[in-house]
Every structure is written in structure tokens, then in C-alpha cells.
């Protein structure tokens, strides 16, 4: 085998790249699900580093901790996605910047740049020739359907 140190270095690099990508993605992205995915990626990066260290020191410690991490990541995923779902039900949006009311008094809100008005000539929607029947809709269900 080649130099164990070099091997370790390579593995750590990969893990580090994954971690860095996840970190930057978490801070930059606005979609809640994507933010969550980036958080998971950070965890995976750490896991690779840990396995590499385990191999380097030739014991099971690294891999054991990875198993723990995977378990915790799974729980965390459940909770995080449940939270995202609730937030989506309330607002109809997956935008993290929507939820910024919990701030101190007097601080300015974060307002997105203005989206320019749509031009009339761009308002062209694809159409399909009508076929079949429209499905019947129960007004009761429609009433309680979450806004999409």
C-alpha cells in the first residue's frame, strides 16, 4: 500500500470538500429542503473523515462513531422534515427568508430585490388540446385543501 499518511490525506480532503460544500450550501440556499440536504452533506463529510481516521489508526472507533452519526442523522431528518412540512402548510412556500418575524424591535426586515414585472408578450402558457373529462371535485375537500 502506498504511504498511509497520503491515503489519509486524500480521504480527509474528500471529506473536507463534502463538508465545505455542505456548509456553504447551508448558508447560501433559501430552499428549506435543500438546506436540510446540505446539513446532511456536512454530516456525511464528517463520516468519511472519521472512517479515514479509523483506518489510519487501525481500530474500529471511527466506524463506530459513524454508525452513531447515521442514527442521529436519521432522527434529525425526521424532525427536520416534519418541521419543514409544518412551515410549508402555514405559508405555502419553502422559502426560509419568509420566516423572519422573530427579530428585535427596530431591526429592518430582509426584503428581496424587486422582481420585474412580467412583460405581456411573455405571458404565454403552453396548452394541451382538451381531452377527456375534468375530474369531479368535492367542494368540501377543496375548501380544506392546503394552498398550493
Amino acid at each position: 500500500m502506498a504511504d498511509p499518511a497520503a491515503e489519509l490525506f486524500n480521504y480527509l480532503t474528500v471529506g473536507g470538500i463534502l463538508f465545505a460544500l455542505g456548509l456553504i450550501g447551508f448558508l447560501v440556499r433559501r430552499n428549506m429542503i435543500v438546506m436540510f440536504l446540505c446539513a446532511e452533506m456536512m454530516l456525511q463529510g464528517i463520516s468519511i473523515s472519521l472512517v479515514a481516521w479509523g483506518k489510519y489508526h487501525a481500530n474500529w472507533g471511527g466506524q463506530m462513531l459513524v454508525i452513531f452519526i447515521l442514527t442521529v442523522a436519521a432522527c434529525e431528518a425526521a424532525i427536520a422534515l416534519a418541521l419543514v412540512l409544518m412551515l410549508f402548510h402555514r405559508s405555502g412556500r419553502l422559502d426560509i427568508a419568509f420566516w423572519q418575524e422573530m427579530r428585535e424591535e427596530g431591526q429592518p426586515a430582509y426584503v428581496d430585490r424587486e422582481i420585474p414585472e412580467e412583460r405581456e408578450e411573455d405571458k404565454v402558457w403552453p396548452t394541451l388540446t382538451p381531452a377527456g373529462r375534468l375530474p369531479s371535485r368535492d367542494p368540501e375537500i377543496d375548501l380544506h385543501r392546503s394552498r398550493v
Binding site: 456548509l23 447551508f26 448558508l27 447560501v28 433559501r30 438546506m35 426560509i96 427568508a97 420566516w99 423572519q100 418575524e101 422573530m102 427579530r103 428585535e104 424591535e105 427596530g106 431591526q107 429592518p108 426586515a109 430582509y110
Partner: protein, 832 residues
């Protein structure tokens, strides 16, 4: 055997206290208009008890005559006891323990010296009451006057709102005053000194919604406070000098349960001094016999500070300003407090401390000078007042000055005369005040003499009793005022002679009286029982002789003025055309018997008691048996008893002269009064300052003629310049002569020599300004600092607030940065 005496001693202050509590508790709802009953009954009972005490003390004192005086001290309980509170150095300790500190060093003294070295003293205050001639005299006088005033007040204050409050305060005051003269300890004396001051404040400000009355009450209390400051300093000095604050020896105290463990119950002051355990009292017979008093600077300081306290309470210069304003209170209050009882507390205290004052002739001279100056000042002011009560108030201040003149001579004659004048003055001054109260009651609470006159047919009883009071005050024989005033003037005369002879070094007169201290040769053997008086060190004897001679003439002048202004007030009120002010309404009639009765009783006593007591020499003999006056250097001085004919004749003539002058000026048409007052007001002077009048001179015929002639010969400009120079001079003179208008004799007297204004400018205004400044500092600087401290967290918080803006990615970034900082710190600084 002593239980009767003890019971009487406790009843005299105890009954008024009980009445005060009763009236305070039941007055508002249950007693209401009958609130005077508990108080009058209690005061009458207290008076009877004090009479009993007087007879009992008289009997016992007669048995122990010539043995250093009689006193009986009863201890009720111990108020405080701090063991080993003061360490006296060797000299002071031996002084306190009875060894004679003078240079006499006979073998007999060796057994009396305690162990050499410093001694420890306990700070112990027992609540003790004493029965001795001085106390019982004061008590009988105080309770008698109080009873009569209370009866008068029941009629005077009828229908008044707060009736029960008035009588509560009166009873409380009588309790405080009787305790003041009964206690046997300086600290307790101070407590009741303050207590009478408080009662005086409450009573002067009785009609507190009236701003003048409230201000007068405050003024009285604050000015008294200044005096009390001096008194407190004197107390501190006495404690550190003598190691005790009691009047009596610690061992000579009786209790209710029985006698004290150590020596006999009655302190007789003879050979029992070597059996006395514990410290000697400050004015106890043992200490007086041993003459263990400090003279020099310490003695002078103690006496001057005590005098300052007395000045505050007895309204002497410079603390006299409160008494005239205290006339804002109800008239019975003026009669009781500011004529007969509270203001005499200072005189009582100085008499009690006679041994202390004897150790310092300079202090006695100061007392006399202060008294004389006050007498003169107050007499001058009283000449022009038009408010009847103010005239009487200034008269009180003046007579108190007389009493201090008597006390300041330092001779037994003078001191007894001062106390005698206190006694008789209480009667006739209370009579005069109650008479003015009767007038006020009839005139609808108007007391300005310019608004009423000619009341003698309307109020015959008041007129007759007031006349008797005026005669007594003026000092016309055979009324009581004459005897006491004459004694004071005689004592001044004798003291002047004494210092003259002492200054000339006459040995015959000086034997045992003013001898050089500590001489123990054979010529003094006969007078060995009388300790040698201290020689004045700061003032020469010749100067003292001149001083007392001057004071003698001053006393005669003041007697003249007293007679004059007293009868001026009398004639202005009761003679002349009958005028009644509109406020009188239906009131203008003679007062009811509840008010006239006390007037009649007091008139009889004011007329007779002085002559009676002087004729029998009862007063002088009795009071001289008080321990303060029964031993020590004062025994070697002039004794009362001799009747000085020349002095008596002079003072009678002076008094009659004053009365005649007042009669000439104020009976009849009062033409001369106008002329006199305009002269005294320097009104002619003001005509010189009138620039317009001077300008009109150029129109006078002879001046105009000269000017025309000068113009004709071309010198018109010269006369014009001269005329303008005269005008200019008149203009220049306006300013200083205008000042003269303010300090004309009449105006000075009428405006009380501007003392109130002087105090306002020098004391009150600076303090008020300082107070405003401090209030400003307190509100803006101190509170500002506190508020600043309170605002700082908010400001700091607002700095941190911008970190919370609600965006989740920002919080994530913050967490990342924090972690980076931690890692960096660990890598760079934490080391291994």
C-alpha cells in the same frame, strides 16, 4: 417614712402626664368640650402635691440646716448603663474623688485620696427625681400658674376647634416642665429641656393653618435648637471633665424599695464624704464642700456653653428673636410658657449650676453682661410697639435679662434675688398676659392698641387687675415686683463695691471672699469651712468693678423704661376715648368668671406675695438651703437679708418717674407724643433730602433778587453755578441721609433694631440658598448618575440588538464565526 415624700415627688409630674394621656385618648370623641376637666383636676392635684412637697422639704431642711444643704434623691429606674465608658486621667480622677485639688496639702487629705492613676467611669443614667428647696419652690410656682392658666383657657378657648388638643398639649407641657425641675441628671434635664421646646412649638403653632403661627412655631423651635447645641456641648464637656452627669452622688440615692446600700439617705455633706462610694455628683454637697471644680479655660468653656443654652431657652440676646413672634399662639400659652415657666428654665439651670459658675468669675461677668444687654435691648424695643402682647413679650425678655443680671453677680444675694424675681415675675407677668387675653377676647381677637382704647368702663375687673400687674412690673413698693427688683439692683451695687475693694487689695474685706486660692495661713483658719473663691484671670478686678457699676446704672435705666412702656400700654388700652373695633361684634363685655377668677387670684398674689416673703425672709432662707447655694465660694459673698435703703429709694424714684412720664404723655390729648415721635424719627432730616424743595429755593425772593442783581452786572453765570452746586449737594446728600431715616431712633426701636432682618440676611438666606443648591445637585447630579447607571444596560443592549434580525442563515453564519473564533483561540493561545 420616706414613702409620703416619694409619693408626692412622683405625683407632681405624674398627674399631668396621666391627664395628657387621658385627654389624648378620650378627647376627640368622648370628652370633646369637656376636655378641660381631666387637665384642670390633674393640675390642681399636682399643685396640692407640690404644696405638700414644699412643707415636707421645709420641715426636713430645717432639721439639717448649715450642713451643706438638703436634698433627697429618688431613683425610679436605670435608663442606661455602660460600664467603663470613660477613662479620666490622674488629676481629674483625684479631683472627682474628693481630694482637694488646691494647694492645701494637709495630712488629713491623704486618707481621702483614692489610688493614684487614672480612673474608669460608668456612663450611667438613672431616672432620678429630687426634692430640695429649689426644686420644690419651682414646682409649686409652676403648678399653681398652670392651674390658673388652665382654668382661664377653659373660658378663652371655648368653642375652638381642637379644644382637646390644646389641653393635651398643656398637660404634656406641665409634665415636661415639672420633670425638668425635678430630675437630678444633666442628660435627663436635656431631655426635658427639649420636651418643653417641643410642647412650646406645638402650642405656638396651635392654629397651624395660619401661616404666621406655623412659621413662628418653627422659628421658636429652631432658635431654641441653636441654644440646645451649646447646651449639648456643655454636657459633653461636663462628662469628660467630671466623669458623671448626675447632680447627686451615686451613693446618696433612695429607691422605692428602700434606701441604697451605702451611706445615709440624706446627703448631709459633712464627714460622710469619705464614705461616699462612686463618683461625686456635679453639684452635690460633697463636691461643693471639697470645691473640686475646674476653673480656667475648661470651666469657662462649660459655663459659657451652658449660658448659650440658657440664652436659647430664656430668649436672651442673641437668641431672643423667637419670643415676640411666639405671641402668635393663644394667649393662655403666652401666659404659661412664655412668661412664667418655660423661659425660666434657663434661669433655673444657671442657678442649679452655681458652683460651676463660681469657679469662673469671667463666666459670671458674661452672664451679667448678656442679661444687661438683653434687658436694655428689649426695653428699647418695647417703647414703640403698638401690639399689646408684643409689649408684654419684650417686657418678659427684659425681665429675664434682669434675672440674669442678678445671677451674674455671683453673690448669694444676687442669685437669690434672681430666683426671687423669677418667682414674683411669674405671678405678675402671667396676670398681665391673662389680662391681655381678656382684652383680646372682648375685642374679637384684635390686640393692636391703635384700634381700641378707653376700655376701663367696659371691663372693670380686667382694668383693676391689669393696673395691679403694671404696678408690680414697674416695681412700685409695696407690691412684689419692687422687692425682687430692688434685691437685684442692690446686688449689683454691692458687687461693684466688692470688686472695687478686691481690686484695691483690701485684706480685711478679702478674707475668705476673694483671697488668693490655696493660701493656708492662720488668718484663714476661721473661714476654713468656706473654700476660697477663684480669682478672675482674664479680667482684672478693677475692670469688673467698673462693669458692675455700669450694670447698676443700666439696671436703673431699664427700670425707668419698664415703668414707662408698661404704663404707656396700660393707658393706651384702658384710657382715652372709648373705641371698639368692628370685629368685636357682640363680644365687647367683661369676661366671664372662668377668666376673671384667675385674674383676681393672681392680682392678690402679685400684690402681696413679694412683700410677705421678703418680710419673713422666708424665700431667701429657704432657697439658700438648696445644695447648689448652701456651700462653696458663694457662701463667702454678700448674703440676702440686709435692706439697702439708698438703693430702694433710687429704684422707687426711677419707677415713679417712668410712670409720671407715661402719664404726662399718654393721658389726655397725647399732643406731645406726636411731637416726640416725629423728633425721634428724625423727620426734619428728611426735609433736607427733598431735592424738589431745595430746587424751589431759587424762587425765594431774596435769592431771586440776588440772582437778578448778579445778572444785571454780568455775574449771572456765577450765581447760576452756585445754585446748581447747592442742588447737586442736596442730591449727593440724599443717599446717606436716606439711610439716616432708616436708622432713626424711633425706627430702630420699632423695627426691633433690624435683628430679624440681620438674621434673615446672614443666617437664613445663605442656608436657603445652600439648600436650593444642594437640592439642584441632588436632583440633577446624584439622581442623574443613578439614572445613567440605569440607562447603560439599555444602551449596551441596543448595540447587540442588531445581531437578531430573524434570518436563519444569518444565525448559522454567526454560529460558524463563533466556532472559528474558538478554534483560533485554542490554536493560538491555549497552548498544550
Amino acid at each position: 417614712m420616706d414613702s409620703k415624700l416619694h409619693l408626692l415627688m412622683v405625683l407632681v409630674p405624674g398627674l399631668p402626664l396621666a391627664a395628657a394621656i387621658l385627654t389624648a385618648l378620650f378627647g376627640p370623641r368622648h370628652l370633646k368640650a369637656a376636655s378641660h376637666w381631666p387637665v384642670i383636676l390633674a393640675l390642681a392635684g399636682s399643685f396640692l402635691a407640690s404644696l405638700g412637697l414644699l412643707t415636707e422639704v421645709k420641715q426636713r431642711a430645717a432639721k439639717t440646716a448649715d450642713k451643706g444643704g438638703y436634698e433627697h434623691v429618688l431613683a425610679l429606674w436605670t435608663w442606661m448603663d455602660l460600664p467603663d465608658a470613660l477613662r479620666l486621667d490622674a488629676a481629674t480622677a483625684s479631683l472627682s474623688a474628693g481630694a482637694v485639688a488646691n494647694a492645701t496639702d494637709t495630712g488629713a487629705d491623704a486618707s481621702q485620696k483614692t489610688a493614684s492613676g487614672s480612673a474608669l467611669r460608668d456612663f450611667r443614667i438613672d431616672v432620678t427625681l429630687r426634692a430640695d428647696p429649689l426644686t420644690s419652690t419651682m414646682l409649686s410656682m409652676v403648678t399653681f400658674i398652670s392651674t390658673l392658666v388652665a382654668i382661664f383657657a377653659a373660658g378663652y378657648m371655648k368653642g375652638e376647634r381642637g379644644y382637646w388638643r390644646f389641653f393635651t398639649y398643656i398637660a404634656l407641657f406641665v409634665f415636661s416642665m415639672t420633670m425638668l425641675v425635678s430630675v437630678s441628671n444633666f442628660a435627663l434635664l436635656f431631655v426635658f429641656w427639649e420636651a418643653v421646646g417641643v410642647c412650646s412649638y406645638l402650642l405656638i403653632g396651635f392654629w397651624y393653618p395660619k401661616p404666621d403661627a406655623a412659621a413662628a412655631g418653627m422659628k421658636a423651635f429652631l432658635v431654641n435648637r441653636v441654644g440646645d447645641f451649646g447646651f449639648a456641648l456643655a454636657l459633653f464637656l461636663i462628662w469628660t471633665t467630671y466623669g458623671t452627669l448626675d447632680f447627686h452622688d451615686r451613693a446618696a440615692v433612695a429607691t422605692f424599695a428602700g434606701e441604697a446600700a451605702a451611706s445615709a439617705e440624706e446627703s448631709t455633706g459633712d464627714s460622710s464624704s469619705d464614705r461616699v462610694a462612686g463618683p461625686l455628683g456635679v453639684v452635690s454637697p460633697s463636691r461643693i464642700k471639697a470645691n473640686a471644680y475646674w476653673g480656667g479655660a475648661v470651666g469657662l468653656a462649660i459655663c459659657l456653653l451652658l449660658m448659650l443654652g440658657a440664652c436659647g431657652k430664656s430668649a436672651q440676646f442673641p437668641l431672643h428673636v423667637w419670643l415676640p413672634d411666639a405671641m402668635e399662639g393663644p394667649t393662655p400659652v403666652s401666659a404659661l410658657i412664655h412668661a412664667a415657666t418655660m423661659v425660666t428654665a434657663g434661669v433655673y439651670m444657671v442657678t442649679r449650676c452655681t458652683p460651676l459658675f463660681s469657679a469662673s468669675p469671667e463666666a459670671q461677668a458674661t452672664v451679667a453682661v448678656v442679661g444687661g444687654a438683653t434687658a436694655l435691648l428689649a426695653g428699647l424695643i418695647a417703647l414703640t410697639q403698638h401690639d399689646l402682647k408684643r409689649v408684654l413679650a419684650y417686657s418678659t425678655v427684659s425681665q429675664l435679662g434682669y434675672m440674669f443680671l442678678g445671677l451674674g453677680t455671683g453673690s448669694l444675694l444676687g442669685i437669690v434675688a434672681g430666683m426671687f424675681h423669677l418667682f414674683t415675675h411669674a405671678f405678675f407677668k402671667a396676670l398681665l398676659f391673662l389680662g391681655s387675653g381678656s382684652v383680646m377676647h372682648a375685642m374679637g381677637h384684635i390686640i393692636d392698641m391703635r384700634r381700641f382704647s378707653g376700655l376701663r368702663r367696659l371691663m372693670p375687673v380686667t382694668h383693676a387687675t391689669f393696673l395691679i400687674g403694671c404696678l408690680a412690673l414697674a416695681g412700685v413698693p409695696p407690691l412684689s415686683g419692687f422687692w425682687s427688683k430692688d434685691a437685684i439692683v442692690a446686688s449689683l451695687h454691692e458687687q461693684a463695691h466688692h470688686w472695687q475693694e478686691a481690686g484695691a487689695g483690701g485684706s480685711a474685706h478679702a478674707a475668705g471672699v476673694a483671697g488668693v486660692e490655696g493660701k493656708a495661713d492662720g488668718s484663714h483658719a476661721a473661714n476654713a469651712a468656706i473654700p476660697a473663691a477663684n480669682v478672675p484671670t482674664l479680667i482684672s478686678a478693677a475692670a469688673l468693678a467698673t462693669l458692675y457699676q455700669g450694670l447698676y446704672f443700666l439696671a436703673l435705666l431699664v427700670a425707668f423704661m419698664t415703668a414707662f412702656y408698661t404704663f404707656r400700654a396700660f393707658y393706651l388700652t384702658f384710657y382715652g376715648p372709648e373705641r371698639i373695633p368692628a370685629e368685636a361684634g357682640s363680644h365687647a363685655h367683661e369676661s366671664p368668671w372662668s377668666m376673671c377668677g384667675p385674674l383676681a387670684i393672681l392680682a392678690v398674689l402679685a400684690a402681696g406675695i413679694g412683700g410677705y416673703l421678703e418680710w419673713t425672709h422666708g424665700f431667701a432662707h429657704f432657697v439658700s438651703l438648696a445644695p447648689s447655694l448652701a456651700g462653696g465660694p458663694v457662701l463667702g459673698t454678700e448674703k440676702p437679708g440686709e435692706f439697702h435703703l439708698t438703693v430702694a429709694a433710687t429704684s422707687t424714684l426711677v419707677a415713679l418717674g417712668g410712670i409720671l412720664l407715661a402719664s404726662y404723655l399718654y393721658l389726655g390729648s397725647k399732643r406731645e407724643v406726636q411731637w416726640l415721635s416725629s423728633k425721634a424719627n428724625l423727620e426734619e432730616l428728611s426735609s433736607w433730602m427733598d431735592v424738589e424743595r431745595v430746587a424751589k429755593w431759587r424762587q425765594k425772593p431774596w435769592i431771586a433778587a440776588i440772582h437778578a442783581r448778579a445778572k444785571g452786572s454780568g455775574l449771572g453765570w456765577l450765581t447760576a453755578i452756585l445754585g446748581n452746586l447747592v442742588l447737586f449737594a442736596a442730591l449727593l446728600l440724599t443717599a446717606p441721609l436716606a439711610l439716616g431715616h432708616y436708622i432713626s431712633p424711633y425706627r430702630l426701636s420699632y423695627r426691633k433694631f433690624y435683628w430679624d432682618e440681620i438674621y434673615m440676611a446672614t443666617v437664613v438666606w445663605p442656608l436657603q440658598t445652600l439648600g436650593l443648591l444642594l437640592a439642584w445637585i441632588d436632583r440633577w447630579i446624584v439622581d442623574g448618575a443613578v439614572n445613567l447607571c440605569g440607562r447603560m444596560p439599555t444602551q449596551l443592549g441596543s448595540l447587540m440588538r442588531s445581531l437578531h434580525m430573524g434570518l436563519v442563515p444569518f444565525y448559522g453564519l454567526a454560529m460558524l464565526l463563533g466556532t472559528l473564533i474558538l478554534i483560533a483561540a485554542k490554536l493560538l493561545w491555549a497552548g498544550s
